[in-house]
């Protein structure tokens, strides 16, 4: 299956700071999603981004499919951004593979 690596594994930020999370994958993919898992375990969709750049408020994401990586940018972090961020990838019609996640803690 496709190998998905996320970095860093853990991140602690002061409220208001910016951060970049990275997702590397081992094979070409047609589907890529970023999720935020909140403290209650719910996986919240952030971006569906198999290629290109998208922005939603303080969050933005860029995927460079030819180089097999995606980046998630969080600006002006807030305590509510705390949780685990997952990247998931798939080839068309095939199963999704998740990374091991980046655990983010934002300190007030």
């Amino acid at each position: 299956g496709i190998q998905v690596e996320q970095s860093p594994p853990d991140l602690i930020l002061q409220e208001g700071a910016n951060s970049t999370l990275r997702c590397n994958f081992s094979d070409s993919v047609n589907n890529l999603q970023w999720f935020h898992q909140n403290p209650w375990g719910q996986l919240i969709n952030l971006f569906y981004i198999p290629s290109g750049t998208k922005q939603n408020g303080r969050l933005s994401a860029t995927t460079v499919a030819t180089e097999r990586y995606s980046l998630l940018y969080i600006s002006s972090s807030q305590t509510t951004d705390s949780g685990v961020y997952f990247c998931a990838v798939a080839e068309t019609g095939n199963q999704f593979y998740f990374g091991t996640g980046t655990s983010l803690t934002v300190i007030p």
């Binding site: 999603q33 209650w40 375990g41 019609g93 199963q95 999704f96 998740f98």
Partner: protein, 114 residues
């Protein structure tokens, strides 16, 4: 629009007992997924349905796990008999069929096997 529904939210059983989880996907989503998420890890796909047919069950421990999706809507996942290592969160997700496969997840069922 209603999201993916799952029940129960929590379940505690003893090893060797049986347990079943239920999932109702987003209306119109033909593809349904069951994932297992062990503490500290990312979700792992157990089984994927398209309508009421199985697309991928390569990582489903078939000696003890079973799943069905009668009528192509609701789905149940069963474990019989449970082992200690089955303690995890079981997540259900759904998506449309096509080249754009954006998954939407339910709240999950947290299973503890004692």
């Amino acid at each position: 629009e209603a999201g993916v529904a799952q029940s129960p939210r929590y379940k505690i059983i003893e090893k060797r007992q049986s347990v079943a989880f239920w999932c109702n996907p987003i209306s119109g989503h033909a593809t349904l997924y069951w994932y297992q998420q062990i503490l500290g890890q990312g979700p792992k796909l157990l089984i994927q349905f398209q309508n009421n047919g199985v697309v991928d069950d390569s990582q489903l421990p078939k000696d003890r796990f079973s799943a069905e999706r009668l009528k192509g809507v609701d789905s149940t996942l069963k474990i019989q008999p449970a082992k200690l290592e089955d303690s995890a969160v079981y997540l259900c997700a759904s998506s449309l069929v096509g080249s754009v496969i954006e998954q939407f997840f339910g709240p999950g069922t947290r299973l503890t096997v004692l």
